[in-house]
């Protein structure tokens, strides 16, 4: 039973990654692309991590997985912010 829930979570996470990647390729400008990417990083990775934690009995490894997820979240938020800020400034300079 727990395996089915875990697999479901992982596949939902993969769906977010897929839609994030499609968004990165298809969306028109840099801000909406960032928006699409952030969903993949945060929700997608959260669901995949959740799924793996359910399958992994070792508590130490579970904690490591959560730390990885938190680090990726922070890094993705900050780098999105930096890219967006840079793009905003370039737009302002061009106007």
């Amino acid at each position: 039973m727990i395996e089915i829930i875990a697999l479901l979570a992982i596949f939902c996470g993969l769906f977010f990654f897929l839609s994030g990647s499609i968004g990165l390729l298809r969306l028109p400008d840099i801000f909406s692309r960032l928006h699409a990417l952030a969903k993949a990083d945060n929700v997608g990775l959260a669901l995949v991590t959740l799924g793996i934690i359910m399958l992994e009995p070792d508590l130490f490894n579970d904690i490591k997985l959560v730390i990885i997820w938190l680090l990726v979240m922070a890094a993705s938020a900050i780098s999105s912010h930096l890219v967006a800020r840079h793009a905003l400034r370039e737009n302002r300079d061009n106007d």
């Binding site: 922070a74 890094a75 900050i78 912010h81 930096l82 800020r85």
Partner: protein, 325 residues
């Protein structure tokens, strides 16, 4: 079923790495080439992990993709004119010769791998390593090879790194600092740098019995320094240059010192006494980590920091080789 999925995963990895290598070499835009190169490094790291070589995967991710990527990106920033135009096309004859030689190299290497794996029944190096592991002082075979059985090679590798950095220091001054970073990046740096330092120490310590070691730990420490330099350059400016010089050479110094100490005990150079080997390796790795981190950070800075020439080399007692002129 699981095997089939793994095969599909492995084949996609191989195709992806080949495609990324081709795209990196063939793209006209330098910026794009560097971005593709970083992606290539990450895929290579996954491939090493799949080949059950986590030490190499770590090194590739941290050095190949991370530090090299940062170095290449800063190199592009130094020469913005090269971002749009390629270097002049080579004549077709030269191109054919290069292609022919590359192809020849690939064929020879493929033959060597195939011959080594399937044709000869000689003694496998890994078997020799595993059989001598108990006297190496560590239980991680990779560290045993790097710091004990093949310690001389690692000493020379450190010398290569030092030589490269001395060249960088001689060629140029440190490039100008970037302007003040955003408050968010500063905030992240504030808690990420201590975490990176702790992780580096963990990698150094865990190298004795699990994947890790001086090169990975040193690169991780350098990553922390680069992050500091990028977000808050003033935090590195107060660094004592004499200390920096000592840190740059302390790895080789300690390595040679331990080697000579072993010679004085009626043994060969770097032939560790099995009873002490574990401690000796840890001491060498600790010093090497500091030197590698300093070297990579200085390489990223792109030249000698302000006041490098005027700092008195006599201040640093642990400096065995001459002052770079």
């Amino acid at each position: 079923m699981i095997d089939l999925l793994w095969s599909i995963f492995d084949i996609s990895l191989v195709l992806l790495v080949l495609f990324l290598a081709w795209a990196t070499c063939s793209t006209q835009d330098m910026m794009r080439a560097v971005t593709l190169f970083i992606a290539l490094g990450l895929i290579l790291a996954i491939i090493w992990a799949r080949l059950k070589a986590p030490d190499l995967a770590l090194a590739e991710a941290v050095i190949g993709a991370g530090i090299s990527g940062a170095l290449l990106l800063s190199a592009i920033k130094d020469y913005p004119s090269t971002t749009t135009e390629m270097p002049s096309r080579r004549s077709s004859l030269v191109e054919w010769i290069i292609n022919g030689m590359t192809l020849g190299l690939v064929i020879i290497m493929s033959w060597a791998v195939w011959h080594g794996l399937y044709m000869s029944d000689g003694v496998r190096l890994s078997e020799q390593v595993m059989s001598h592991l108990p006297v190496s002082g560590v239980s991680n075979p990779v560290t045993a090879v790097l710091l004990n059985f093949r310690a001389y090679d690692t000493l020379l590798e450190l010398a290569v790194v030092l030589t490269a950095v001395l060249t960088v220091l001689n060629l140029n001054h440190k490039r100008a600092d970037v302007s003040a970073a955003s408050a968010l990046l500063l905030g992240m740096t504030r808690w990420l740098v201590p975490l990176l330092v702790v992780t580096s120490g963990y990698l150094l310590w865990v190298g004795a019995h699990a994947p890790g070691g001086a090169f990975q730990a040193g690169a991780m420490l350098a990553a922390a320094m680069i992050l500091l330099q990028l977000s808050n350059p003033s935090s590195l400016q107060g660094f004592n240059l004499s200390v920096l010089r000592s840190l740059l050479v302390i790895g080789i110094f300690v390595f040679v010192l331990v080697g000579i100490w072993m010679m004085s005990l009626n043994q060969d150079f770097l032939a560790f006494n099995p009873a002490w080997a574990g401690s000796l390796i840890l001491i060498i790795e600790f010093a090497a980590t500091l030197s590698i981190a300093t070297a990579l950070t200085l390489a990223y800075l792109g030249g000698r920091p302000m006041g490098w020439e005027s700092a008195n080399p006599a201040d640093s007692a642990t400096k065995p080789n001459g002052k770079p002129s």
